[in-house]
Subunit: 201 residues, 2 copies
């Protein structure tokens, strides 16, 4: 057995304990970037094929300069009518939206549009797996909330009210902090929605 | 019984007989528009939730004029890394690309990029339902070709060769002409890929 000096052991323990809290946020990564990196991880290991949809843009005018590629010179952002992420995991259709807030006690519902809520309801009626990933950046906590619970809350007053963290904790699942992949949301899907559990998203 | 004059009956019969061949093409509708209308039909009747992904655009410069919405003033088209259409049908992940040609005997393979072919292979490995819809506008014929058969043909010389109509007919399924919905491709999926058939896309 190697005889480590006590102070080194203490130092190592400190490092290990700090390592537990390393996540995408304190590496300067945005929540969206962390999800995209997670999806890249899933894709490269053939775990799932899940992509972020391109930003919807209404293209008004395009220039076609000679000897150069087409240049869009007038376009506008359109409101998304679906969710941002979709794909396939073991044959199942996966569909989700990701939202981030600095607030500590609630997620503002203005983050969700009526069209997106309708889309989620349609996906559920087709037996798709649909949810939202909610990141509380100040708290450094992330939750997976089934779309059914989001829709139920939205219907209270058409999204006018903030969704309390307590509601999210009660109905959702904490997403474990992880270095690789950063936001391992499929663990929750596998365990709670495909693993023979009674819960259905 | 109303006594119609004979010439009117003949005229009506002619109209009915012509109606059989009414499809999206002779109503001046593009193949893409017809597919989008089909997806709207499926969505509104709660048959499936399938959307076209937004055109991928690389946004370089955005102006934020006062009292007006953000205006994209410099952007470029990006090559799609996935297919154009995806969604959910009875819990199954559906993923496809649509291509149109005026040629009468083959579909040019330059229509398909290496990234798209890779994406299709990934989707198949996750047990997603993946295919291409191929429209021969001069012939007014449309075929559904399973992605596995497209990939097999692509691998011959990395897409350098046109795919003969004979190959498509042999491995694919003709999509019936229909007025409503215009391109009823889910009939083929239901019958051949979910109906207990041995065929697997």
């Amino acid at each position: 057995m190697v005889n480590y000096p006590h102070n080194l052991i203490r130092k190592q323990n400190k490092v290990f304990s700090e390592a537990k809290t390393i996540n995408f946020a304190n590496r300067g990564m945005s929540f969206e970037t962390a999800i995209n990196a997670t999806n890249d991880y899933y894709l490269s290991r053939q775990i799932a094929v899940i992509h972020k949809k391109p930003t919807p843009v209404q293209i008004v005018k395009v220039d076609y300069p000679k000897r150069s590629r087409a240049k869009i010179v007038e376009a506008y952002f359109r409101q998304a009518s679906t969710t941002d992420y979709s794909g396939v995991y073991k044959g199942h259709y996966i569909d989700f939206e990701a939202k981030e807030t600095r607030q500590k006690t609630a997620m503002p519902m203005k983050n969700f549009h009526a069209h997106q809520i309708e889309h989620m309801a349609s996906v559920l009626s087709q037996n798709g797996i649909c949810f939202v990933l909610l990141h509380f950046s100040t708290l450094r906590e992330t939750y997976l909330l089934p779309a059914a619970d989001l829709i139920a809350f939205y219907q209270i007053d058409r999204g006018g009210k903030s969704m309390p963290l307590d509601y999210i904790k009660k109905n959702g699942y904490p997403v474990a902090e992880s270095v690789f992949p950063q936001v391992p949301y499929l663990d929750i899907i596998e365990k709670n929605f495909l693993g023979g559990d009674d819960n259905q998203i």
